[in-house]
Amino acid sequence: MQKISQKSIHKYLRHDKKFPHVWCPGCSNGIVLGAVIRAIAELDLKKDNIAMVSGIGCSSRMPVYADFNTLHSLHGRAIAYATGVKMYKPEMDVVVITGDGDATAIGGNHFIHAARRNIDLTVILINNYIYGMTGGQYSPTTPHGDKATTTPYGNIDPTFDICKLAIGAGATFVARTSAYHAVETQSFIKQAFKHKGFSLVEIISACPVIYGRLNKKGDAPTMMKQMKDDVIPIKQYEKLSPEQRVNKQTRGIFINDTEKMEYTLAYQELIDSLKVPKGDSNE
């Protein structure tokens, strides 16, 4: 992997008025921002040609720091806004930054339908198991039994496997890793950018200040170590007994299908098929 220096990262950040950022110390969101930028730098994508679209949440604050065409939209709607951008300008690289609540609770409908269409969006989903921005209410991925400010007695809700949801809905590139695995994060994001079709990279991440505190997960480095131990390669996971699998998450690329037609290409084919052949225009 090509090494992207700290200095070259600065080329992709906005300097006027935008720093310091809003994220707490130890938050994984910064690691993900770094990985996104490194992936973009490695692919040498043009800043002018990138649209970064987000919803609402701590994770969704990312676009304001990045020097692209940036759209901080509404809670849950990032993928719907991004669909409009991509449909109108398919030549742009459209990346969506979203959270577990943003993408799978309030935005669940948009998420599955964009996956079904296989529209070429690169969705980076930062899963911190909680609603960070609003101070720690439970999300569709908060583990069973965990504490949130709205599950004071422990969470009784079952959770989502977001990657399985995306595959079931028709996404053609689906991968998961954790913010601890920063190099893998960067690599998956890079592959997701290259993929023509709906791609999802779910990044398990640490929210030490809210989720961590509520659930006594220790400080940020401790949570990082936990991710290292708990988010394991698919092959390794498969060898484990059901008891050993408790609290473990798989990482890796679950699907990479290059056969299914991408949506904006399908629409372009439709447009082309309607073009009146030359010399045939005077009925």
Binding site: K17, R77, Y88, H113
Partner: protein
């Protein structure tokens, strides 16, 4: 349907079709929508026409997604529209607020049907007049137009697209079930003579570009995604470059701009029609489908020698305050027929203020005719009111 660009010719067209064709004439090249009676034909026609010239149509998973997609496309440079009715409009209000806050042009058509809730899907209504003004949370002015014929549906559709572009906002185009579904002859204009507001691309270097300049003139240059300007758009309160701010001074500039860009251009935005108003002692104030019955009632009353006229707002929002004062201020009585429980008349009373405080001026009167059972107000019904107040 043949769309002859050079020779205007008369054809028969449906109201909803006229809205779609008008928008296309105004440069519509992106439509996202979700089917709902009685608006669906607009989406259907766009699905047929847009891909023919490289425009884009997409049926989204719901109305929230539809308004979101058109705003996204508009930021990427498209001229956009979506169409719906009451239940869908309710879902769209969050996006309408976002479009107003981020000053992103788009048009939302609301072909009104009976409400509340699922209500009367196949019956006309005018009960979303106030929702068109106050539907989104937060203070933001509204522009809403309401035609009363098929040919005017075409014209106001063009106008809605133009106003959205010029004032960088979401414009609501109201219609109703009867207007949307009826067919009337319409003379298509020579498109080369129709004024279209096109997006002006900035010439400033990107470093100097401000997406939200402090002293704007309308229309103004506006960058789109992918053109090298890399601006930021957020629904948070923002500064002139679009970056989020908590500062009171910067927020004030933003809020003042959102309000004043409408307030300072009322004359450009407001359109009214006066019918037989010169010598009228009694006036009918009516919009959309109800104004057709009103016009009929005026003719019937005039035959009986009663001096009645009609004032009709084509622009519902901003409300034509000045015109109402000017033309209705001296009338003995004003009759307001509407397919709701008094939304236009409420606004009329606001503008007339003390004059209509019955305690102060007992001789003057606002006569309200409401109907919410799914049927239209008839000319006879209005005539009866005229006879009562004369």
């Amino acid at each position: 349907m043949s769309n002859n660009k050079t020779n205007p010719k008369t054809i028969l067209m449906q109201g909803n079709e006229a809205i779609a064709r008008g928008a296309l004439a105004a440069g519509l090249d992106f439509f996202a929508g979700y089917p709902i009676t009685p608006s669906t034909e607009i989406a259907e026609i766009c699905s047929v026409e847009l891909p023919k010239f490289g425009g884009k149509f997409i049926q989204m998973e719901d109305e929230i997604a539809s308004i979101s997609a058109i705003i996204g496309a508009s930021l990427a440079g498209a001229k956009t529209m979506t169409a719906t009715s009451g239940p869908g409009y309710s879902l769209m209000t969050e996006g309408i607020g976002f479009a107003k806050m981020t000053e992103t042009p788009c048009v939302v058509v609301n072909v009104m049907r009976g409400g509340p809730s699922t209500g009367l899907p196949t019956k006309p209504s005018q009960s979303d007049i106030m929702q068109a003004r106050w539907g989104n949370h937060g203070d933001a002015p509204a522009i809403a137009l309401y035609p009363n014929s098929v040919s005017e549906s075409y014209e106001l559709s063009i106008r809605a697209m133009n106003l959205a572009e010029k004032y960088r906002t979401c414009v609501v185009l109201l219609s109703d079930e009867v207007l949307g579904h009826m067919r009337e002859p319409i003379e298509l204009p020579d498109l080369s003579q129709v004024k279209i507001v096109r997006r002006i691309t900035p010439t400033k270097p990107p470093e100097w570009y401000q997406h939200y300049p402090d002293n704007p003139k309308y229309p103004m240059p506006k960058a789109s995604f992918g053109e090298g300007y890399r601006f930021h758009v957020t629904g948070l309160s923002h500064d002139s470059k679009g970056f989020p701010t908590n500062r009171a001074d910067e927020t004030k500039i933003l809020m003042d701009r959102l309000r004043n860009k409408i307030a300072y251009h009322i004359d450009d935005i407001v359109q009214i029609e006066n019918y037989q108003m010169q010598d009228a002692k009694i006036a009918i104030f009516a919009a959309g489908i109800s104004s057709r019955a009103a016009k009929e009632a005026v003719m019937m009353a005039r035959k009986r020698g009663i001096k009645v006229g009609m004032m009709r707002p084509l622009t519902i929002w901003p409300f034509p305050d000045a015109a109402v004062r000017k033309f209705l201020g001296d009338k003995k009585a004003i009759i307001v027929p509407e397919l709701n429980e008094g939304q236009l008349s409420l606004e009329l009373k606001r503008v007339m203020g003390g004059i209509w405080n019955y305690e102060i001026r007992k001789t003057k009167k606002i006569e309200e005719i409401h109907r919410t059972d799914g049927l239209l107000i008839t000319p006879d019904q209005i005539l009866k009111s005229i006879m009562e107040v004369k």
